[in-house]
Amino acid sequence: MTSATPRLSPPSPASSGLGGESRSGRFGNRLFAAISTGAGVTILIALAAVAAFLLVRAWPAFTASPGEVADATQGAGFWGYVAPLAFGTVLSSAIALVIAVPLSIGIALFISHYAPRRLASGLGYLIDLLAAIPSVVFGLWGMAFLQPLISPVLEWLSSTLGFIPIFAGYQAPARNVLTAGIVLAVMIMPIITATIREVFLQVPRLHEEASLALGATRWEMIRQAVLPFGKSGIISASMLGLGRALGETMAVLMVLSPGFAINFFLLKPGQHSSIAANIAAQFPESSGIAVDVLIATGLILFILTFAVNLLARWIVARRAQFDGAN
């Protein structure tokens, strides 16, 4: 694995003595370098523009008088409006992570250390296919397949463990935050699996062999060699998945029956919503200050996911420095 850029010295046209051709070459070089550098800088500008334009449109929501904002937020005020949405976003994503991370580690292990070599790439491709399926179809799937399947299980959970708040108050169509979390888990699994798999494949063969040579079983080898090596990779993969889950819109919008409460009733419908789903639900019918308020919630979501992704990439980058030592 070489991450170093090829350092090439371009031919110096001045010394080549080819006359006119070298001059056109020099011009082409300069133009081409300018275009590609410009493209790179455009990306930076685009990202800055995303933040800037959101900020400009969101500004009225932060500065308007409380009375104006109250109309758009059912009287809660801006921060009172955002708090339950942010809570719902984090709660549904946390549920998704709790379900998806162990599963993804299992799948990545299966592909990297259990499945026969020839099968492994095909299996990885199958999991990647899940990432290609549009989110709106996941919403349909959640309604038509998952809900009827999961409903009796939740019913039973609620009736036997109902004295614990998180299991209390289940009502028949499973349009609660737990179901939404499960759909999110399925959606973020491919990206977590892909990242973890890459890391597991990089585990130094010598570490694995040393462990096996000491008489470890396969599982002990994985615990001694693979998991410690892949720890930071697992963390950053989880954070990438978290970033995706925080911003996922359609599945939450279609599966969850929305509400504006801050509580841990995972099985009760009508308690939570998420920032993204709330925007998608309210935006087409909104006007005036309500649009600004929604864009302001979008800006908060942007900052949240930006921070999570930055942290994830930072962990990956820090890990990459140690690659050379192996």
């Binding site: 070459g25 096996l212 942007f302």
Partner: protein, 322 residues
């Protein structure tokens, strides 16, 4: 240094040793004798190993359930309405519980929006990748690499809000057009293009570049005629996968382009229907529209799978043999 063949063998034999019964298929292999000084802990360790194997394989099977059930449920629910008439009619004059109507206008709209996104993000993505691989150095390169990575994580709805804010500030609040959706999708598509093209350009061996330089070919011509030509299969694959990824995006189009009942050929004026938004709205209406939602979902999945398949074929048949 250990030869890879030895390594594979040692792993396979270790795997066999974990089982209680020798594997008949691998009986020809030399099996490592396992000393068993303390039988009870050994059995315990083996049980644990077996348990882990079951758990890992179970996780994989569990992950296949959504994939298989999803394809199955979309096909079985969508196939009844799906067909040539469905693909070839729009929703003009379809009301209430009427079962007619189709998705023609939404396919045209999806092509427009995705086309605009592709026109913006493919050149931008390719040139950024060229910068990162061929020219970039120092903090600017590191910054762009990091921000491209972070950009892949932008929530799609935020991209939609950005495009909405951009166009409402520039062209007034009532402006609705396919181009807004195209810009939103371009924000999501560009980082994917950059990533995949960059990876492909890195695979081009340095010797090829050096050979071109040795012949006196200018650097830019080397990039165009040697580097890009060599990587063209991979680049095509990456672009197709990027298109497949954004073609199913719903949320940004929901907040920017809305929905229309008929075909709107003008990408710069008026609402336009797109396939994902069509599926969502038909689903939200309920009743007779649910069937149209499923058939639309089937159309969408068929397009995405087709693009992925084509990308695979392109990379298999046109990649350079080494």
């Amino acid at each position: 240094m250990t030869a890879p063949a030895t390594a594979a063998e040692s792993r396979a034999s270790a795997a066999d040793a974990g089982r209680t019964r020798p594997d008949p298929a691998g009986s020809g292999r030399v099996r490592r004798p396992i000393p068993e000084p303390t039988p009870v802990p050994m059995a315990h360790r083996r049980r644990k190993d077996r348990l882990a194997t079951i758990a890992v394989c179970g996780a994989f099977v569990l992950a296949l359930i959504p994939l298989v059930s999803l394809v199955w449920i979309v096909v079985s629910n969508g196939i009844s309405r799906f067909g040539w008439t469905f693909l070839n009619t729009d929703m003009v004059g379809v009301y209430g519980s009427m079962v007619s109507g189709g998705v023609y206008h939404a396919i045209i709209g999806t092509l427009q929006v995705t086309g605009i996104a592709a026109v913006i993000s493919i050149p931008l993505g390719i040139f950024t990748a060229i910068y990162l691989v061929e020219y970039g150095r120092g903090p600017l390169k590191r910054g762009i690499t990091l921000l491209v990575d972070v950009m892949t994580g932008i929530p799609s709805i935020v991209a939609g809000l950005f495009a909405f804010a951009l166009f409402t500030i520039l062209f007034g609040p009532a402006y609705k057009a396919a181009v807004i959706g195209g810009v939103a999708l371009a924000v999501l598509m560009t980082p994917v293009v950059v990533r995949s093209v960059e990876e492909m350009l890195r695979l081009v061996p340095n010797e090829l570049r050096e050979a071109a330089y040795a012949l006196g070919v200018p650097r830019w011509l080397t990039i165009v005629k040697v580097v890009l030509r060599t990587a063209i299969a991979g680049i095509t694959t990456g672009i197709m996968i990027a298109i497949a990824r954004v073609i199913g995006e719903t949320a940004p189009l929901l907040v920017t382009v809305g929905l229309a009942a008929g075909v709107n050929w003008n990408a710069f004026e008026g609402r336009v229907a797109t396939l994902p938004v069509y599926v969502y709205r038909q689903y939200a209406q309920g009743g007779a529209s649910i069937d149209r939602a499923w058939a639309g979902a089937l159309t969408l999945i068929a397009i995405v799978m087709l693009l992925n398949l084509l990308a695979r074929l392109v990379s298999r048949y046109f990649s350079p043999r080494t």
